[in-house]
């Protein structure tokens, strides 16, 4: 049992609850046609919250796209997340990326890319840079088990091993890559053991056990920080919901499988633990559930009301300045929109 204060234990629980409430609300909004798309992390809250808890705030996170729990633990607000999901003018990514593709520089969380696994060599590079600069920073990067089939997985692990970079690879094995079961991704017994081939340690952990995730990640982070090099953590968990709101999992997987995993729900499990310690009561549950729901609801409403980014912003941030050819294209767009408006 790691040493965690009662206050932190309760905060961890609340963050998992908030993660779920946020996911559920966003999925509902998508179903109502108010949000374009969403990717939930239902059932994987312990993996994301627990791993982030084990880091320092200065450590960098290179996320995949089911890490909302990690952002919340870092202190990203649901309002900041909701603005991104709505792609409005208050979104830090200026409405350019699909929902869930966050970027929170103030929290040392880099920008998410849809192409899978690209973040692994990048996380190694950032860790390497920190090492060269003698900063006590480590990087943690997330991926799904499907993403481990990409070349970048092997490239990233290989570089990390060779240069002994302070990197933690956190692989969420949630059983499925869209419709493809874990068996199609590897003939290895597990994913953790792949680290051996690259000369460092792989750790297998129950991803639905918050405390186990914390212990494994903390060990890997401490090791990285003290010059011990990288670790690959495989957190075995389950994707309870669909892959995304565009997915229909009933086509490829059985209900019984989902039911069996629901019984291992990481939030319920941690709740039982807290209850035994006298840290959880039904009244408190009600209180945090209501507080989380109210906060998420208000955030979604504010995000929905915020104006869209202005059309001319399409041309911002392609470069650090706006070269002449883009200025011309910007003028062309504005002129065209004006002409259309006048014609109407």
């Amino acid at each position: 049992m790691p040493e965690i204060s009662d206050a932190d234990l309760k905060a961890l629980y609340r963050t998992m609850v908030m993660t779920r409430v946020f996911d559920q609300r966003m999925i509902t909004l998508q179903r109502q046609g108010r949000l374009g798309f969403y990717l939930g992390s239902l059932g994987e809250e312990a993996a994301s919250v627990g791993s982030a808890f084990a880091l320092w705030a200065e450590d960098w996170i290179f996320p995949c796209y089911r890490e909302q729990g990690a952002y919340l633990w870092r202190g990203v607000t649901v309002q900041e997340m909701a603005h991104q999901c709505y792609g409005n003018g208050l979104d830090y990514t200026k409405g350019r990326q699909m929902p869930v593709h966050y970027s929170f520089r103030h929290k040392n969380i880099v920008s998410i890319s849809s192409p899978l696994t690209v973040q692994l060599p990048q996380a190694v590079g950032a860790a390497w840079a920190a090492k060269l600069r003698k900063d006590p920073i480590i990087t943690l990067t997330y991926l799904g088990e499907g993403a481990s089939s990409q070349g970048d997985f092997h490239v990233g692990l290989n570089f990390a091993g060779v240069y002994k970079t302070p990197t933690v690879f956190f692989l969420r094995n949630n059983g499925w890559a869209i419709s493809t079961p874990r068996e199609v991704q590897t003939a290895s017994e597990n994913f953790a053991m792949k680290a051996n081939a690259y000369g460092f340690e792989g750790v297998l952990v129950d991803g639905n056990d918050l405390l186990a995730v914390i212990v494994a990640t903390k060990r890997a982070a401490d090791k990285a920080r003290s010059g011990g090099g990288p670790t690959l953590i495989e957190a075995v968990t389950y994707r309870v919901g669909g892959h995304s709101t565009s997915d229909d999992p009933s086509v490829y997987r059985k209900d019984e499988e989902v039911k069996a995993w629901e019984a291992k729900d990481p939030i319920a499990r941690f709740q039982r633990f807290l209850a035994k310690k006298g840290l959880w009561t039904p009244e408190w549950e009600l209180e945090i559930q209501e507080a989380c729901k109210a906060e998420v609801l208000a955030a979604a409403e504010a995000a929905e009301k915020a104006p869209a980014p202005a059309p001319e912003t399409i041309f911002d941030d392609v470069f650090s300045d706006i070269p002449r050819f883009l200025q011309e294209q910007r003028a062309e767009l504005m002129d065209s929109l004006q002409q259309s408006k006048e014609a109407r």
Binding site: Q97, A177, I178, V251, Y252, P309, I314, L326, S336, A343
Partner: protein, 324 residues
């Protein structure tokens, strides 16, 4: 004649060819039981088995590389790249290997792989589910580049692609997957790869388009007609090989050209078309050729409609050309 959308037409073409030729193998992510994220391979694994419709590990490089190996050995793989935006891990395999095998082996090793991929924006996909990357393939000698705009063409062109000996990048306009419906003959037929189609004849101006932009151009033509402009619309259907004769004949008739492409402007296929028209028909031109394109920025999520060439922008381009 049954009515189909593009997804159904692609599915139909794959089914016909798989039944006829047991060398045809489909490889990809989620193509099996799930039938592909757009359902283009729906039901095929059921009919032909998991050895011929193969769910692969999540690796475009792996899918492409093994497809090339299979083709060298005599199979006819039809890999699906889930989105054109995710092809890049396989870029080396496509550009340096697939495209050059025949040439660098002195013709000993043809490489008949048909790479199917949904491309283009307008589905709220942000920059990783919206790219139109045809120019990369056109810039790579050895690849044929086919882009259908409607179900009839999709079926005929895909069947033709699977029956010839060269690698083909077959780009499917995902925005039109379900929106473009039309009559499609039930049985077997092919369309010649490298033959453009005059969608509508006209005498005032030539509009060149391909893929989803054919539909945008049709909308623009309808608006133009109301203004008394009689435009000719050509659907290129294939960028490599390109039906230059049909284009030049049209330019010689109208003297004015607007080219519509969804991809960014710089070094896009439209630029190539302008160069070719200059080479073949400069003296027929009455005005500079106008390009209506996506902008030279990554494809945005919220402002996707401002990014995409709209019918209004095409019409404005036509007016500009006519008023020169």
């Amino acid at each position: 004649m049954p009515t189909m959308n593009i997804i159904q037409a692609v599915n139909d073409a794959l089914r016909i060819q798989m039944a006829q030729d047991d060398r045809v193998v489909i490889l990809g992510e989620d193509v099996g039981k799930f039938g592909g994220v757009f359902r283009a391979t729906s039901g095929l694994q059921e009919q032909f088995g998991a050895d011929r419709v193969v769910d692969c590990p999540l690796s475009e490089a792996g899918i492409m590389g093994t497809a090339i190996g299979m083709a060298l050995y005599g199979l006819r793989p039809v890999p699906e790249m889930q989105f054109a935006d995710f092809i890049y891990p396989a870029f080396d395999q496509i550009v340096n290997e697939l495209a050059k095998y025949r040439y660098r082996s002195g013709g000993q090793y043809p490489c008949p792989v048909v790479v199917r991929t949904p491309y283009g924006g307008g589905i709220k996909g942000g920059h990783y589910h919206s790219q139109s990357n045809e120019a990369y393939w056109v810039q790579t000698p050895g690849l044929k580049v086919v882009i259908p705009s409607n179900p009839y063409d999709a079926k005929g062109l895909l069947l033709a692609a699977m029956r010839q000996d060269d690698p083909v990048i077959f780009m499917e306009p995902k925005r039109m997957y379900r929106a473009a419906k039309g009559d499609v003959p039930e049985g077997d037929y092919t369309l010649e790869i490298g033959k453009a189609k005059v969608v509508k004849e006209g005498k005032d101006i030539t509009v060149l388009a391909y893929g989803s932009m054919v539909h945008t151009a049709m909308e623009a033509l309808a608006k133009a007609e109301a203004e008394g402009i009689d435009a000719e619309l050509i659907d290129l259907r294939s960028l490599v090989p390109l039906d230059i004769d049909t284009i030049i004949a049209s330019v010689e008739k109208t003297g004015r050209v607007v080219i519509v492409q969804e991809a960014p402007k710089s070094a896009g296929f439209a630029a190539e078309l302008i160069a070719l028209i200059n080479e073949h028909a400069l003296l027929s031109l009455e005005a500079p050729i106008v390009r209506v394109t996506g902008w030279d920025t990554p494809f945005p999520y919220t402002l996707d409609l401002e990014y995409l060439p709209s019918a209004d922008r095409v019409l404005q381009g036509m007016r500009k050309t006519l008023n020169f």
